[in-house]
Symmetry: C2
Subunit: 531 residues, 2 copies
């Protein structure tokens, strides 16, 4: 009973024994489609593990990956934890300096690189001595001094998986780090197993053997929200889109592969909605049941937009430190018959904590806020897949003395326990002693027909301390006039909450994970006027 370990080995073995024939579909960088199965990936992972062990990878050693969403990445998700080592996913969109820091901090011994990412690899290769570099070469030969992934697997015997303690580290990912150096989050086997299991619940992502999952969210980003392991555990088909994530490529794949569920950040779905709106008949999306959206707040206009096409957007909230799933916004049964407006108001929230995720929000006086949807406080979380510390003991101030993680997100919580993110603590607009939610302003601005994107930042103000400033990307052909936008906002916001300044730009800079770079905007605009 209790000595049965919750290790990823059980997940990988389940894929091999019970879901062997389920498709794993990868789109290659050249656009071609490669097909394999969960069973083949699991069997190959046994040989890959032997090969890695022969290269010197031992218990607890880190194996880095620089790969897209592709079958080889799944094989590494299987092989590395199951052999007792730690799979460390690298984000190729980070700056080379950051990657250099990260691979050194993690002390990665081996790295597996997709051929299409060799240029990115060259950017930080010199900063750290990898003992071996393995290349997924897609039939080409591996460059001089590097090992060929397929040759490694071809030459190795199958490994009998060792019995692993569930508390052992299985995976590692660095936070994108808006302030300071990136910090490593290490996930235990137990955390990853419980995270995937809970993610599959009907009120969370609802993963079943009937599903075909397309994670647009990259596998180098916080375990791809648990989808690869959930697919292996529950026997869902897996469609891995590779590097091409433009709306048409994703929609083609969803239609061709009869995808039932997909997941990614709002940016992807906003662009996809535009494509759908302009060519509503082009794609047969009848199998698509839900789009999971997370990583940034979801404007109501996005929910409404997909509803027009008969598609359901489900919002989720989480962070690298929460593995990442923390809350999911599924309409509660008592709102089934409510007015559309009330339903949207709920669905635009970030949702209710997953089972076993405990939440609370700290008020400015260091108490905790009431769940009255009025008070605002910084969200703190804990649970079986929530980090209680960073790699090497860094960033200790992100954790409370009693072991909760300080998220940095400022939230309101309603009587149901459903959170609404009002801001990042570091982005707060505090005007005359009152907080203004930049996220609410952004969402409402983005509901205006002439606005494509909007970010609101705090800028210093001699009288009020801070004032909101709106940075707006207009749709083609729209006039750069702040008045209609201010008028539009005034239907929802008090006069003192309205931005005085509107800056019209052609694009808003984003982080490697798709979030607005508010620090950059602040540097650009905070002193351009006024002070």
């Amino acid at each position: 009973m209790d000595d049965y370990p919750l290790s990823l080995t059980a997940v990988v073995e389940r894929a091999e024994r019970f879901h062997s024939g389920k498709d794993v579909v990868s789109r290659r960088p050249d656009g071609s489609i490669a097909r394999t199965t969960l069973g083949a990936c699991a069997r190959r992972s046994r040989r890959l593990a032997t090969a890695l062990a022969e290269l010197g990878v031992g218990d607890g050693d880190r194996v880095a990956t620089l790969l897209w969403n592709q079958a080889e990445h799944l094989e590494l998700y299987f092989a590395v934890p199951a052999m007792g080592a730690v799979v460390h996913t690298l984000n190729p969109r980070l700056h080379a300096d950051e990657l250099a820091f990260i691979v050194g901090d993690a002390q990665d011994r081996v790295i597996v690189v997709d051929e299409s990412l060799l240029d990115a690899f060259e950017g930080f290769r010199g900063a750290h001595r990898f003992e071996h570099v393995v290349v997924v070469a897609h039939g080409e030969s591996a460059p001089e001094g590097m090992l060929d992934y397929e040759a490694l697997i071809d030459g190795a015997e199958s490994m009998e998986w060792p019995v692993l303690d569930e508390g052992r580290a299985g995976a590692m990912c660095y936070t994108s780090g808006t302030t300071g150096r990136p910090k490593g989050v290490v996930y235990s086997h137990r955390a990853l197993v419980l995270h995937s299991l809970t993610a599959a619940l009907p009120d969370a992502l609802g993963v079943s053997t009937q599903d075909t999952l397309l994670p647009v969210v990259p596998m180098f980003h916080a375990n791809a929200w648990g989808l690869p392991y959930a697919a292996a555990l529950l026997g869902a088909r897996l469609v891995l889109p590779g590097s091409k994530l433009d709306p048409v490529s994703v929609l083609d794949l969803i239609a061709d592969e009869k995808v039932t569920m997909t997941a990614g950040v709002p940016t992807v779905w906003m662009a996809m909605l535009d494509a759908l709106d302009s060519q509503p008949q082009r794609w047969d999306l009848r199998h698509l049941d839900r789009l999971i959206v997370g990583g940034a707040a979801v404007p109501r206009s996005l929910l409404e937009g997909y509803d027009r096409h008969g598609l359901t957007v489900v919002q989720a909230w989480g962070m690298t430190e929460t593995a990442p799933l923390g809350t999911v916004s599924r309409l509660p049964s008592d709102l089934d018959e409510s007015e559309k407006d009330d339903q949207y108001a709920f669905r635009a929230r970030q949702g209710i904590a997953m089972p076993f995720v405990d939440i609370r929000a700290r008020s400015e006086d260091d108490g905790f806020i009431e769940w009255d949807d009025l008070a605002m406080g910084e969200l703190e979380v804990r649970g079986p897949w929530v980090a209680a510390g960073y790699h090497n003991g860094k960033g200790a101030d992100s954790f409370t003395d009693d072991g909760w993680f300080r998220t940095g997100d400022i939230v309101r919580i309603d009587h149901r326990g459903c959170i609404r993110i009002c801001d990042r603590s570091k982005d707060l607009v505090k005007s005359g002693g009152e907080w203004i939610s930049s996220v609410d302003l952004e969402n409402h601005l983005m509901a205006h027909p002439s606005v494509a994107e909007a970010a609101v930042i705090a800028v210093p103000d001699p009288r009020w301390g801070e004032r909101p400033l709106a940075v707006v990307v207009l749709r083609d052909g729209m006039a750069a006039d702040p008045e209609p936008l201010r008028e539009h906002l005034s239907t929802e916001f008090a006069r003192w909450q309205l931005p005085e300044r509107f800056e019209f730009v052609s694009a808003i800079p984003r982080t490697a994970t798709g979030k607005f770079k508010k620090l950059t905007l602040r540097e650009q605009f905070a002193t351009a006027d006024g002070l």
Copy 2:
């Protein structure tokens, strides 16, 4: 992360914080309906726990329950484990001698009895010194010398739940014991939490906040298949049918309370199908999505019968020792488009192991059978909620040296890992060195229009060792003629597999949990003829 315990406290607190307003509906012995909520039950359980502690219940002590499916039982499911004690559910349908043995073996310190079960309690009360007897008196006054349940709660403060280690015992149940004395199975908090969580997966029972669950399976029977804790964890409505389980009472409750999922043994659903067939328009069952059936093999005729009414029967297999869910029979996606016959053939199997339940079947030569659906062997299981021993170290021969539980069920396993129970090892018909599946014969007999129920047993035979004998209950007005039945069987079975003897009876004796009493049948018929 890993220090977050998987304890039932998290389940009870979740019901209180996140699902407080969800209905808990109880039908009382007098037929009246009592309504409360998950939140009220959770809050009352804090006071109940204080009251029990004041009665002397300490860490690890057993508190017995002699109750139907009713809100008070749920309160005890919450209070006793969360305070650190062990809730021990008693089956009132067992013989008084057995109950006397069980309460002594468990050393129960306190017992909580429903007023309607006081007579049953008197049958074994003298055999064991309970320190306190608590009565759920439904507004009557508790008998002399017994404590009133409501008065206990009224007089107590709320308990702040202690932090519990997940390995601590939380609940206990005795096996019904077809051979030898009943044996106690003790469930850890971790086991019960993981069992309920996994039970809620879409491919298992699929429990969500949209659901209204009606467990016909008694709460004194192996955790009511995990449904009470799953409801608390996921926020489903719970409808508790009390003691009246006749088809009309259950159908009324399903229709009135808009039940979406119900669960119980085949006997219940056979009787209910007859009621539906005779009055198909009487009940509005449009909310009912699935009937979970377990505890005995499900004949195909039952699946077909419910399909006629647009209702889906899902078969599950388990035992008290497996908490109880071990396998669930959900149609795999590759059979979605198959012929009806192939679909029924699959759905009539007991299903695929739940995630984290490992299965294997031991052959007669002490190896393990192939998963070829031909070889038969005794099913062995292990997993996070599978017992690795009985209370007080009894029945050690039910466990292998490497910690697997020997189920006593003889199975075939197909290439998918889907099991088919052919027999109980002790009921096997072994004729001329060949096994005959009594369950297959029974299922096929029950598909004949004149047969209401059928049990097949092994009887000694001087030539063949054993031969099958069929005990048949006919539908009203049908003739007691074995020939058409033998002819019906011969379309599916070899000549040597057909029973020579048919005994027509008015009813087949059943155990307290609804299974055929094959031992009794064997005593009755094995020597009545022939030898």
